[in-house]
């Protein structure tokens, strides 16, 4: 007996047994070798299948007349009876029997017994088939998930662990792999003469193969970028390295650009990757450069272009997972919409947040992400934006986020200290600023964001002539500050006030000025510290301007 699989391949017993069918093991697929004959393949369109499907019991093969190659084969093999195994109306196997060894014909009792046997064996066989099928599917799924995990590990291991902090620039990046892990990658490469290389790329294919090609591309690109200056030449070199070993039907799209932070000059070359957009005072502009993807064919040249990112300009590098995201009706997000978003939204991390929000609105919040999504932004701080009204120009030194979790105020104060320290703030005043930043961040995490780790506190550090501003923003706009009560230690010792409630008091007393603002959604506490020690000019310690 055999089961019918997708290919309808089956095996049958070619010889009869000695006793009645009830005493024989016709159904045992591992019957004695002498009872085995070569399996018979039944084509899906063979009329024998239809006949057996509708047969009401054991079929006399010798008496059956059908234009059926399989039937001819069965007859040639000496099969006398074919007993269909039908479960829930589906033919799942056939029990084939040769002549009885007694050389007598099968009796009506034999046939009845065989029909009963088939009626009981068919469901059991079906259950066995389903179990085996599910086990095979589970094993396939497990192998698939393991492969995805390996791909994820490879990719995440090769992404930058941190982004550079460039004076006057904000660098932000976002990377989220799709469930099946595509081949997106990005990189930031420190180069000689304070230049920074930025890379964004996409390997065709998914999973481990894509991750391995990504890792190879990144390594070759990093090495080439250190030795060669021109972005186009770097891509040429990478292409020559990749071509000999690139798996068939795979290639890499990649954009590589070099930023000179002091001048804002950005030189780039493109190997078939989606072109970047720049937000300028006049709207958004697509930066074009021609070049074939990497790894397709050797000897390629890559056009090199350059632009200057002016103060206030913002550059967006992106992968096709953004523009090719579909809405439920199948419409893509598209390049025009992304270009418009770059023109409309502020640059830097906020641009990424806004684009992601628009994407969610386009695809639907619960839609599974189709492809990897990667975005990298370079935003040059506006400079002298307020000079025309007589105010000092402001430079943003850094913007970063701190997850709202207990103890994370240390992250904020240490990072601000590292940024502000080199500006010349004297040690004691730097310590004061550290305490103020720590307390303000703690307040923001606790009272503004309720210590919800997914709601980060945003910290910005700006300089302005002879002062530094630190802005700490939470999402508790309009929520009254729980620390607003002026702490009185005598009242606390007498049990008339709770022991806590020192946070805002410390903030106000540690810095030269503290200002609170709220726009209904966000609440910001700005700390101002003059770089030169002007303590002698200030009123007493408690008299700073703290707006609440």
């Amino acid at each position: 007996m055999t089961t019918l699989t997708g290919s309808f391949r089956r095996r049958f017993l070619g010889r009869s047994t000695e006793a009645s069918p009830s005493t024989r093991d016709h159904t045992d697929p591992v019957a004695a070798p002498q009872d085995e004959v070569a399996p018979v393949d039944i084509a899906p369109n063979d009329p024998l299948l239809v006949y057996l499907q509708s047969a009401t019991g054991a079929v006399d093969v010798a008496e059956l007349e059908l234009d059926s190659p399989a039937l001819a084969e069965l007859k040639a093999a000496g099969v006398k009876l074919a007993v269909p195994l039908v479960s829930q109306g589906e033919l799942i196997g056939v029990l084939n029997l040769g002549p009885r060894r007694s050389e007598q014909d099968y009796s009506s009792d034999d046939r009845k017994l065989l029909d009963n046997l088939a009626a009981q064996a068919a469901p059991a066989l079906r259950v066995g088939q389903l179990v085996r099928q599910q086990q095979a599917e589970a094993a396939t799924r497990q192998r698939f998930e393991q492969e995805l995990e390996v791909a994820r590990l490879i990719q995440q291991n090769f992404l930058p662990k941190q982004l550079p902090e460039l004076s006057g620039w904000q660098v932000a990046a976002y990377y989220r792999p799709a469930r099946e892990v595509g081949g997106d990658f990005y990189d930031v490469i420190p180069l000689p003469d304070d230049r920074i290389g930025f890379v964004i790329g996409d390997v065709t294919d998914k999973g481990v193969p894509a991750a391995l090609v990504m890792a190879a591309t990144r390594s070759v690109l990093r090495a080439s970028a250190q030795r060669l200056v021109d972005p186009g030449v770097v891509l040429e070199r990478v292409n020559e390295h990749l071509c000999p070993d690139m798996p068939e039907k795979m290639f890499v799209t990649c954009l590589y650009g070099v930023l000179e932070p002091a001048s804002g000059r950005f030189r780039f070359a493109d190997a078939g990757h989606d072109l970047p957009y720049v937000k300028t005072a006049d709207g958004s502009v697509e930066l074009r450069a021609r070049g074939m993807p990497l790894g397709l064919m050797p000897g390629m040249a890559y056009e090199e272009k350059e632009t200057v990112l002016a103060p206030g300009d913002s550059l967006l590098l992106h992968s096709d997972g953004v523009v090719e995201a579909h809405d439920p009706q199948g419409a893509m997000f598209g390049f025009p919409r992304l270009k418009e978003a770059v023109a409309r939204y502020p640059g830097g991390g906020e641009l990424i947040d806004r684009v992601l929000s628009d994407l969610r609105g386009h695809t639907g919040a619960d839609a599974e992400q189709e492809d990897d999504i990667t975005m990298v932004t370079l935003a040059r701080s506006p400079v002298a934006a307020a000079a025309s009204n007589g105010l000092a120009p402001t430079h943003q030194l850094v913007e970063f986020e701190v997850p709202s979790a207990e103890g994370n105020e240390r992250l904020a104060l240490e990072r601000v200290s590292a940024i502000v320290g080199p500006l010349g703030l004297e040690e004691s005043r730097l310590k004061r600023l550290e305490t103020a930043v720590g307390e303000a961040t703690m307040n923001a995490m606790e009272h503004g964001n309720g210590y919800r780790v997914e709601q980060p506190v945003t910290v910005r550090v700006l300089t302005e002539a002879d002062l530094v501003r630190v802005q700490i923003t939470d999402l508790g706009g309009g929520v009254p500050d729980q620390d607003a009560e002026e702490p009185d230690i005598e009242a606390k010792l007498a049990g008339l006030q709770r022991p806590r409630g020192w946070g805002l008091f410390l903030v106000k007393n540690m810095v030269d000025e503290a200002h609170e603002t709220s726009d209904g959604d966000e609440h910001t506490l700005e700390l101002v510290m003059r770089l030169a020690d002007s303590a002698a000019e200030r009123p007493d310690q408690g008299g700073q301007d703290a707006h609440q």
């Binding site: 207990e406 103890g407 105020e409 240390r410 992250l411 240490e414 004691s428 310590k431 004061r432 305490t435 720590g438 307390e439 703690m442 702490p487 230690i489 606390k492 010792l493 049990g495 709770r498 022991p499 806590r500 409630g501 020192w502 946070g503 008091f505 410390l506 007393n509 310690q541």
Partner: protein
Amino acid sequence: MHTSDATTAVRHRDGVAVIDLVGDVNARAEGSLDAAWDDATREPPEAVVLNFETTGYINSTGIALIVGLLAKGRARGIAIRAYGLSPHYREIFEITRLADFLAINPDEDSAVRGAEKSSA
């Protein structure tokens, strides 16, 4: 980020209990500080001296914990002194007026001597 949860040790010297505060004095120090206080005052000492020489970061919650110790000391008539504060945290003790309710000494010897004189 270099954080270290506070650990405490209690020593007794010349009738004075010295609590060594090691690490950060923040919300996570509460249990350790309370246990140290209970240990230090099981037999009422002439004073409790807080040693801040090996303390790292003190935040406003840490200040509140010290206020809590002051309240406990006041309830039982136990004076509290402190030494080993950095200039920055000494300034914070003054701004918050903690310094009005606990004497701040430059080192352990002067803190212990000060406690003996006060109780004499």
